[in-house]
Amino acid sequence: MTSTDVSFELITALLILGGAVLALIRAVKGPTTYDRVLAVNVFGTKTVIILALLGYIGNRSGFLDIAVLYALVNFLGTVALLRFVESRRFFQ
């Protein structure tokens, strides 16, 4: 691995993690609930990308499967959150 590769991966990681920090700030500050729901959704996407990046850096192809699973779990959580926000109850 040459030094150019390392710096390229570092820059990618820092950009993605910087986006994650911004999403976290929005989740904490978010004036409305929808800001927070969006922030959680963005964070789930960041998790998928970070896992894919870690798999690329460490050359572990199995990470891609886990990344796909996390995308599914994230979708489930977002749907549950929005249903709660919409009706304030789950059992009609």
Binding site: V6, V28, T47, Y70, L81, F84, F90
Partner: protein
């Protein structure tokens, strides 16, 4: 900092600590649930990075998925605002510090990581690896199989032969917990629903 994985780990854990502190600090319980979801996702990535794939799957499915839904269901009964109260509890802080100090003191007796003379590796592990476990003698009239009457995988052998009762009663505990959750969070009768709505408006 030439190792990108190390840098990613450090930043991920710092974000996780930030999310946990924010979840404790906020008074909006709905926001706290979402922040705990973020925290769970970050921990799941860390577990995956430590090659603990089973723990990682569990953390993502239970921590970010099921626990979020469970907490939201609880919020349908409690309302989404935390009551105003003191932010600092000296007794709780003291309990946490004492418990943490005891746990750290306990690690002094643990064997070094990867120590070949550790008790966990010298007592029964050689038997497990030698495939003596899980060997079920089918007898002369027993069914033929390709594995010489034992389970082909060491982990499966331990799980099936030695931890069978453990797993069975774990299932019983989880079933009991599930029944309790359903009883507490079951759909309310119309009169009880009105009472809950009134108490939420009063709070």
């Amino acid at each position: 900092m030439s190792d990108p994985v190390l840098l990613i780990n450090v930043i991920l854990l710092m974000i996780a600590v930030g999310a946990a502190i924010a979840a404790m600090w906020t008074r909006d319980l709905l926001g706290a649930v979402m922040l705990m979801g973020i925290y769970s996702l970050l921990l799941a990535v860390e577990w995956a990075n430590l090659f603990a794939m089973d723990v990682s799957y569990t953390e993502a499915a239970v921590g970010a998925g099921a626990a979020t839904i469970l907490l939201l269901t609880a919020l349908t009964r409690t309302g989404t605002r935390e009551k105003a109260g003191p932010n600092f509890h000296p007794t709780a802080l003291l309990t946490v510090i004492v418990t943490g100090a005891m746990l750290i003191y306990g690690t002094a007796d643990m064997p070094r990581f990867g120590d070949p003379q550790a008790p966990a590796t010298v007592n029964v592990a050689p038997e497990y690896i030698a495939q003596n476990v899980g060997k079920v003698d089918a007898g002369e009239d027993g069914p033929e199989n390709d594995f010489g009457d034992h389970v082909p995988n060491a982990v499966t052998a331990v799980l099936a032969s030695y931890r069978g009762y453990d797993t069975m009663f774990e299932t019983a505990v989880i079933f009991t917990a599930g029944v309790c959750v359903i009883l507490i969070l079951r759909p309310l009768s119309p009169s009880a629903r009105r009472e809950t709505a009134q108490s939420q408006e009063g709070a």
